[in-house]
């Protein structure tokens, strides 16, 4: 099976999802990665086609289209990210290809691709079968990025050769203020979700974080309410935590959130025993964080003396 990977580049850096997709592609057969912005692609394993079309932009689907016409892949892989989904959805309509989204597992067959997706807020697994050529939009963290790294053999193709462009114009990046803590670099993260109840209770999480030598983060609803700054958001549209411990307090574990959780150990506390967060936890407690956390804080204090 021939697989084309859409390599995501943001701000001149190849994103981790790219390597994950390459890892997936390699399991399925021959892999070619397409990158549409300038970046150091040398660690991407296998063939890399590099087109310098500027910063990430939704109209790049037209570049992918041209490359697909030339390379004829059976399967095109995209990451389930803000940048890539724009391109995947336009491409699938333009080229009339079936597309599976929210995918966590891809299998190849004869003239068909099987994909498993997690939908309905994590409550249902859907097994899909697509006739090739097909597109799969894969969730971040479904495959091991390390397995997609190696050495690249790069082909540069100029934009003029392809003869495409569109009217959506990239203006600039808007970076978050650098002053706040970078949770993606923290070893220990104490994260709060809707279950924290209200802003006043975040103090409690901060106390716990301090005792453990970590930082406080939150899921989207907490940030939307304005209880924590955007830089503390964990998830698809926030940051990815990769440290030693992610302590999820009152977080249900929706897919968009869990995508940002790549810590080595996850401990979750939630009153709902069916909360999807438990599926990725090393250890879980069905309890009310408002009851459990103060007790935990007291005990840890005792231990630390």
């Amino acid at each position: 099976m021939k697989v084309l990977v859409f390599g995501e580049v943001i701000d001149g850096e190849v994103q981790n999802i790219t390597y994950e997709l390459v890892a997936c592609a390699k399991k399925l057969g021959e892999c070619v990665t397409l990158v549409t912005s300038d970046a150091d692609v040398s660690s991407i394993d296998g063939r890399v086609i590099k087109v310098n079309a500027g910063e990430p932009n939704p109209w790049h689907y037209k570049i992918v289209e041209k490359v697909v016409e030339k390379e004829n892949p059976d399967l095109i892989l995209f990451g389930n990210t803000s940048v890539s989904v724009d391109i995947a959805s336009q491409l699938s309509a333009k080229m009339e290809m079936p597309v599976a989204t929210m995918v966590y597992e891809v299998e190849g067959g004869d003239g068909e691709v099987k994909a498993r997706s997690i939908a309905y807020g994590g409550k249902v697994i859907v097994e899909l079968s697509m006739k090739t050529p097909a597109i799969a939009v894969v969730n971040v963290g479904s495959y091991e990025a390390e397995e997609g790294k190696g050495s690249a053999s790069v082909e540069e193709v100029s934009l003029e050769e392809l003869g495409v462009s569109d009217g959506v114009e990239f203006v600039s990046y808007i970076r978050p203020s650098e002053e706040d803590v970078d949770i993606s670099k923290a070893e220990i993260v104490v994260s709060v979700g809707r279950g924290i109840g209200d802003e006043a209770n975040i103090e409690m999480a901060e106390e716990l974080a301090e005792l453990l030598g970590g930082v406080v983060a939150g899921s989207r609803p907490v940030i939307d309410q304005g209880w924590l700054p955007k830089t503390r958001q964990v998830g698809r549209s926030g940051k990815t935590v990769t440290g030693k411990l992610y302590l999820a307090l009152g977080i249900s574990g929706a897919t968009e959130h869990v995508e940002g959780v790549k810590a080595k150990n996850v401990i979750a506390v939630n009153t709902d025993r069916t909360a999807p967060i438990f599926r990725i936890s090393r250890c879980g407690a069905v309890a009310d964080i408002m009851e459990l956390v103060p007790v935990l804080i007291d005990k840890i204090r005792e231990i630390k003396g």
């Binding site: 209200d198 802003e199 006043a200 309410q225 009310d288 408002m290 103060p294």
Partner: protein, 393 residues
């Protein structure tokens, strides 16, 4: 909305509430603000609100958020020399304007939307409203099957879904079971009784809830309603009759008092020093002071002590009038929550147990114990939990 439209809407709404014309008699004495648990944290005490509205100044009041700094404790209304219905009219009608503007505090907005959509403020399925009956070791009949009973037990939302309040519901259900009371619950057919919606300015939602609940009541035969939720009790005796509801309603303290002779024969001994919190909508609003005290004092071994602020002067737990859903907002304006002040007061009496009469009290006070560091020194129990403990000891 323009100011004229706001004032028109405001006057139209308070015009529908009995006695509200008395606001013209406001003599600006300031008793209301002086009595208010949030008086020191608000830019507009009820006195200033009335003054502002009379002067046609509405937007500034709404922008200050003062209308949300109210726990509907009724102290101002009770003490007002002009008998202005501040709690039931002045403030809810102002809150309604905020709702029409579309920008109430978010937590409360979500709670109100959940009530409209799911019949409870917790965003839980209405079909799970009677899950608590699976957690007790005796049979709790549901009206859909039983069709008739002597007593209809209304659990209300907190009593049905809130982890701590469910314990109170279970305790009272067990007491009724031990008393061999013929009771039943509505289970999934019960919707939020709605006092929270009414006091939050969602008059339309309240009306809808009342009408829907009354239609369900009419399906079954029962002699009276008993509830442990003081706000549900209040809505049922004062508001629901306006929509045609005519059955007798008792608060569970009254019910326990009515059954006191029987209970006395069954009480074991408890070794507690107990103080009693006059929940706002049991005591101050609805005049029930003696019954709970008699019940508590009837338990052998219990030593009863009074706090300083009792009966109509009791300090609110802060949970009413949407308070349970406004904590973030309120905390921005005051240093110490009323519940925190109250538990300190209870601890100062030397009591081991603070007994309460409204479902909302217990989680509010237990949270306050954590914040004030009094956990372990003082326990909070609903009166039905105390009674059950006495019956089982």
């Amino acid at each position: 909305m323009e100011v004229e439209e706001m004032l028109e809407t405001y006057y139209e709404r308070i015009g529908e509430i009995p006695e509200s014309e008395k606001f013209i008699q406001c003599i600006q004495c300031g008793t209301c603000g002086g009595s208010c648990p949030y008086g020191m944290g608000t830019l507009f005490t009820p006195r200033r609100m009335i003054l502002a509205v009379r002067a046609g100044i509405v937007k500034e009041v709404l922008d200050s958020g003062a209308q949300w700094l109210c726990t509907s404790c009724f102290t101002c209304s009770l003490r007002c020399p002009s008998q202005i219905p501040i709690t039931d009219a002045i403030i809810p009608a102002l809150r309604e304007l905020s709702l029409l503007e579309g920008n109430p505090p978010e937590e409360l907005a979500a709670a109100l939307m959940n009530i409209a959509r799911y019949g409870n403020s917790f965003r839980e399925s209405p079909r799970k409203r009677d899950r608590w009956i699976k957690e007790v070791d005796f049979d709790v009949p549901v009206m859909a099957k039983k069709k008739s009973a002597d007593v209809l037990f209304i659990t209300e939302c907190f009593g049905a879904y809130h982890r701590r309040c469910k314990e109170i519901t279970k305790a009272f259900a067990k007491v009724m079971h031990l008393l061999e009371v013929d009771f039943a619950i509505l289970g999934n057919e019960e919707r939020c009784i709605g006092d929270l919606a009414r006091l939050s300015g969602e008059f339309g939602l309240f009306e809808d809830l009342a009408e829907k609940n009354i239609r369900v009541f009419e399906k079954y035969e029962f002699n009276r309603i008993v509830t442990h939720d003081a706000h549900a009790y209040n809505a049922l005796i004062r508001e629901y009759p306006k929509f045609g509801f005519e059955k007798e309603t008792l608060h569970h303290t009254q019910f326990l008092y009515q059954n006191l002779e029987k209970l006395k024969e069954m009480f074991g001994k408890l070794d507690y020093t107990v103080t009693y919190h006059d929940s706002c909508y049991v005591g101050r609003r609805n005049g029930i002071y003696e019954e709970p005290r008699e019940v508590i004092k009837a338990i052998p071994g219990v030593k009863f002590v009074e706090m300083k602020r009792i009966r109509e002067n009791a300090l609110c737990c802060g949970g009413g009038g949407g308070g349970v859903w406004l904590d973030s907002f309120i905390k921005e304006h005051i240093k110490e929550r009323p519940a925190e002040s109250r538990v300190k007061e209870a601890a100062a009496t030397g009591a081991d147990v603070l007994v309460t009469a409204c479902t909302l009290d217990v989680p509010m006070f237990e949270d306050a114990l954590k914040v004030t560091g009094l956990e372990g020194e003082l326990e909070v129990k609903d009166i039905s939990e105390l009674v059950l403990e006495a019956l089982e000891s």
